[in-house]
C-alpha cells in the first residue's frame, strides 16, 4: 500500500468520525456516538502511523505492536456497551412516553364532548408519539357503505384524502374490501400493500400504518399514520397503537350508546310533535305534504312518495312526492292496484319491507319518466282500521340501503300518518254529506214554499167565490189553514237548517221586548184553548241586545215548554234586567212559570237532549232546548234553569237567558201586564 492509498483511507476514517460527531449532535444520548467517533479517529490515526512508521518498523515476519489493534478494539467495545445502554434507556423512555400518551388520550376522551374532537385529540398525540407527519381516522358506515373521515392531522392531508377517497370507492364497490374492512381481525398493520403503494409513493409517503378501531367485535373504522420516513413498527409500537385504537373504540361505543339514547329521545319528541301536527291538520293534501316533510327529516333519503288507495275503484294514485323523480310520479296518474308493482305486493302482505335493490327484485315495475338506475327502497303500508289506505315509498341511491331501525321508525310514523289521513278523509266525507243534505234541504224548503204560493191564491179565490156553498167554503178554509201550516213548517225547517249548518249567523241589534210580544202572540195561537197569563217587566221596552233572527224561536220554545208542563191556567212572569259580568253588560231575561218545575237532575240534563229535536221542532213544538242553548251561546249569551222559589222545585221553574247589551247604560225597570 502506498502513501496515497493510506491518505485516502485516513480521509475516509476521519470523515466517518466527523459524520458520527455530527450525528451525535442530533441524538439525545450523545456519549455513545462520541465514543464511536473516537473509535474512527483512532482507526484514522492507526492508518497514519502505518503509513509513516509501522511499515518500516515491521517488515515481513515482524509482529505488529499490540497497541495498534488492542486500543481500537477496547474503544469499540466500550462504544458498543454505551450504545446498547442508551438504546435501552431510549426504549424505556419511549415506552413511558407511550403510556403517558395513552393516559393523555384517555383523559382527552373524557373531556371531549363529541367524536370528532376526541378523535382529533387522540390522533395528534399518537402521531407525535410515532414521529409521523400525518394521520387520519375514518369510520365505516355499513348501511351507506361509505367512509367518513372524522379526524385528520399533519402536513400531508391531500394524500390522506386521496387514500380515503380511494378506499371509500373500493369499499362501496368491492365486496371483498367491504368484508375485509368490516370483519378484519388483524391488529395494527402496515398499509404499504401493493394496492396503495403507488398512491402513497406518489404522495411522498414512505410508510403508512393502520390500526383498526373495533366496537363489539366489529371493525367500525381505522386509525392511520403516514410518514415520509419509516415508521418503526416494533412489537411495543403495535401494542400501543392497538391499545389506542381500542380506547377510541371503547369511547365510540359509549358515545354510540349515549347518541342512541339521545336520538331515541329526539325521535320520540319528533314523533310526538309530528303526531300533534298531523292531528291538528284536517285537509288531506296538507296532511300528506306534512307527512312527506316530517318523514324526510326523520329518514333522510333521495325520494319520498305517498300513494293513496281508492277502495271503491280499486286504484292507486300518487298523493304527494318529493325528490328526484317527484314530477314523474305525480304525473303517473291513477292506476289499478293490480299494476302497483312492488307497492301492491307489499300492501298484500301488509308489512313494511326493505328492498335492497328495487330493479333486482322481481316484483318491481319501472315507472315511466323515473331514472333507469336501481335504488334501495323502504316501503311502508298505511293501514287504518285493518284496511290498507295507501303506501309510503322511500328511495336511496345504491349502494346505500335502509336499516332495521329506519324501518321501525317509518312503521311507527306510518301508524300516526294513517290515522291522520283517515281522520281527514272522514271529515272530508262528512263535509260532503253535510253539503249534500243542505242542498236537499234548500231545494225542499224553497221549492215547496214556491209551490205553496199559488195555492194560497187559488184557495182565496175559491173562498171568495159566491157560487160555492157554505160546506165547500168551510172545507176550503180548512185546506187554506193546512197550506198555511205547511208554509210555517217550511219556514221553521229553513230556520233550523240555518241554525244547524251556518256557523256564524249575522248578529244584529234586537229589541227583546218586541220579540217577546211576538212570541207570546205565537204562543196564544199555538194553545188557543188554554188560559195564558204573561207578565212582562221589560225596562220600558228600551233595551237593545245583540242577537240573530232566531231569537224569537228561543223565546217561543221556552214559553211553549212552560205552557206544556203547566196546569190548565198558566201564569208566566218575564223580567228583563241589566247585569254586569266580567266588565261586560248583559240583559238577563227570566221566564218564571208556575208549572211542575224541574228536579236538580232534570236541570242538569234539560239542555243536553238532542234526540228528536228536529222532529219536535217540525211538529211545531219548538226547536228544543239544546238548539236554544246553542243559539244563545252563538249570540254571546248564556241560558240556564233555576227554581222559581229557591229550594222548592215543585213551585215552578225559571229559565234565564242572558244576551249582550247593545248599550252600556242601565235602564229603569218597569212592569206591564199583558192579557
Amino acid at each position: 500500500m502506498n502513501e496515497l492509498q493510506y491518505l485516502v483511507f485516513e480521509i475516509f476514517a476521519i470523515g466517518t468520525a466527523i459524520l458520527t460527531l455530527m450525528y451525535a449532535r442530533t441524538q439525545r444520548h450523545r456519549t455513545a456516538w462520541i465514543s464511536f467517533a473516537i473509535f474512527f479517529f483512532i482507526i484514522g490515526l492507526v492508518g497514519i502511523v502505518q503509513a509513516t512508521d509501522v511499515l518500516q518498523l515491521s517488515g515481513p515476519g515482524v509482529p505488529i505492536p499490540k497497541d495498534y489493534y488492542v486500543i481500537p478494539c477496547l474503544i469499540w467495545i466500550v462504544s458498543l456497551i454505551m450504545l446498547t445502554r442508551s438504546s435501552s434507556i431510549e426504549k424505556m423512555e419511549r415506552q413511558f412516553e407511550r403510556i403517558s400518551a395513552l393516559n393523555d388520550i384517555a383523559r382527552s376522551y373524557l373531556a371531549a364532548s363529541d367524536l370528532e374532537s376526541a378523535a382529533s385529540l387522540s390522533l395528534e398525540r399518537i402521531a407525535k408519539t410515532f414521529d409521523a407527519e400525518g394521520g387520519s381516522i375514518f369510520t365505516l358506515d355499513r348501511t351507506q357503505k361509505t367512509i367518513f373521515t372524522i379526524a385528520s392531522y399533519g402536513e400531508i392531508p391531500p394524500a390522506q384524502e386521496l387514500f380515503t377517497e380511494m378506499l371509500s370507492e373500493m369499499y362501496s364497490s368491492d365486496d371483498r374490501v367491504s368484508k375485509d374492512l368490516n370483519h378484519t381481525g388483524n391488529g395494527t398493520r402496515r398499509l404499504m400493500v401493493d394496492l396503495f403503494k403507488e398512491t402513497f409513493l406518489k404522495a411522498g409517503i414512505k410508510s403508512a400504518v393502520g390500526a383498526p378501531i373495533r366496537v363489539e367485535g366489529q371493525t367500525v373504522g381505522m386509525m392511520m399514520l403516514f410518514s415520509r420516513r419509516d415508521i418503526p413498527l416494533t412489537k411495543e409500537g403495535r401494542n400501543f397503537l392497538d391499545l389506542a385504537a381500542f380506547e377510541l373504540g371503547l369511547w365510540m361505543a359509549q358515545m354510540k350508546d349515549v347518541a342512541g339514547m339521545k336520538s331515541m329521545s329526539e325521535f320520540q319528541e319528533g314523533l310526538l310533535s309530528v303526531s300533534i301536527d298531523l292531528h291538528e291538520e284536517l285537509v288531506p293534501e296538507k296532511i300528506t305534504k306534512s307527512i312527506v316533510k316530517e318523514l324526510a327529516h326523520l329518514i333522510p333519503c333521495r325520494d319520498i312518495w305517498i300513494y293513496l288507495i281508492n277502495p271503491v275503484k280499486k286504484t292507486m294514485w300518487a298523493a304527494q312526492a318529493i325528490g328526484k323523480d317527484a314530477d314523474a310520479i305525480m304525473t303517473d296518474g291513477e292506476f289499478p292496484l293490480s299494476e302497483a308493482g312492488l307497492a301492491g305486493e307489499i300492501l298484500k302482505g301488509g308489512k313494511s319491507e326493505i328492498i335492497p335493490d328495487a330493479m333486482a327484485d322481481g316484483r318491481g315495475k319501472h315507472i315511466t319518466g323515473t331514472g333507469e338506475e336501481s335504488s334501495a327502497m323502504l316501503i311502508i303500508p298505511l293501514i287504518a282500521k285493518g284496511e290498507a289506505i295507501g303506501v309510503i315509498e322511500l328511495s336511496r341511491d345504491l349502494p346505500a340501503t335502509f336499516s332495521r331501525r329506519e324501518l321501525e321508525i317509518g312503521t311507527l310514523f306510518a301508524q300516526q300518518a294513517s290515522i291522520a289521513i283517515q281522520n281527514a278523509k272522514l271529515l272530508d266525507d262528512m263535509e260532503k254529506e253535510k253539503d249534500k243534505s243542505k242542498l236537499y234541504l234548500d231545494l225542499l224548503t224553497h221549492d215547496i214554499a214556491n209551490l205553496n204560493t199559488p195555492l194560497y191564491s187559488y184557495f182565496d179565490m175559491m173562498i171568495k167565490d159566491e157560487k160555492l156553498d157554505a160546506h165547500s167554503k168551510e172545507i176550503m178554509k180548512k185546506s187554506y189553514a193546512q197550506v198555511e201550516k205547511i208554509s210555517l213548517l217550511l219556514s221553521r225547517v229553513r230556520k233550523l237548517s240555518k241554525a244547524e249548518f251556518e256557523e256564524m249567523e249575522e248578529q244584529k241589534s234586537c229589541n227583546p221586548s218586541e220579540i217577546l210580544q211576538q212570541s207570546v202572540h205565537e204562543l196564544r195561537r199555538a194553545f188557543p184553548h188554554r188560559k195564558i197569563d204573561v207578565l212582562i217587566n221589560d225596562l220600558e221596552g228600551k233595551v237593545l241586545v245583540s242577537a240573530g233572527e232566531m231569537l224569537d224561536e228561543v223565546f217561543f220554545n221556552i214559553l211553549h215548554n212552560s205552557v206544556k208542563y203547566s196546569p190548565k191556567d198558566v201564569q208566566i212572569d218575564i223580567t228583563l234586567e241589566e247585569m254586569e259580568l266580567q266588565g261586560k253588560w248583559y240583559c238577563a231575561i227570566r221566564f218564571c212559570d208556575s208549572g211542575s218545575g224541574l228536579t236538580d237532575e232534570m236541570k242538569a240534563q234539560v239542555f243536553d237532549k238532542p234526540k228528536a229535536a228536529a222532529a219536535s221542532f217540525a211538529r211545531g213544538f219548538g226547536i228544543g232546548l239544546t238548539t236554544c242553548k246553542k243559539l244563545v251561546e252563538k249570540y254571546g249569551g248564556n241560558i240556564w234553569v233555576e227554581d222559581r222559589v229557591e229550594g222548592d222545585h215543585k213551585k215552578g221553574a225559571c229559565f234565564v237567558v242572558t244576551l249582550p247589551l247593545m248599550r252600556e247604560k242601565a235602564a229603569v225597570p218597569m212592569t206591564r201586564k199583558l192579557k
Partner: protein
C-alpha cells in the same frame, strides 16, 4: 499462554456476532445500518490479520489487511452518511 490482548480480540469478535444477531433491532433504531452488518465484521477480520501478522506471508497479510480495512472504512463512511441523512431529531 493466553495473552490479555487475545482475550480482548475474542471479546471484540463475540461482540460483533452479538451485535449483528442480538442487538441489531435496537441499534437499527439508533440509526446503525449497513456498516453494522458489513463494516464492523470486516474491520474485525482486518484486525485479526494484525494479530497473525508475523505468522502469515507478508504480501498476503498486507493485501488482506489493506483491502479489508479500506473496504470497512468506506462501508462505515457510507453507513454513517446514511444514518446522518436519515437522522431524527429527538426532543
Amino acid at each position: 499462554m493466553i495473552q490479555p490482548e487475545d482475550v480482548l480480540l475474542t471479546l471484540a469478535v463475540l461482540a460483533v456476532v452479538a451485535e449483528t444477531f442480538l442487538l441489531r433491532r435496537d441499534l437499527e433504531e439508533q440509526g446503525l445500518h449497513l456498516w453494522v452488518y458489513a463494516g464492523i465484521p470486516m474491520l474485525t477480520l482486518g484486525s485479526m490479520v494484525l494479530v497473525f501478522w508475523d505468522q502469515m506471508p507478508y504480501e498476503v497479510a498486507d493485501t488482506i489487511f489493506t483491502t479489508l480495512t479500506a473496504l470497512s472504512i468506506a462501508t462505515m463512511f457510507i453507513g454513517m452518511l446514511i444514518a446522518y441523512m436519515k437522522r431524527r431529531t429527538r426532543p
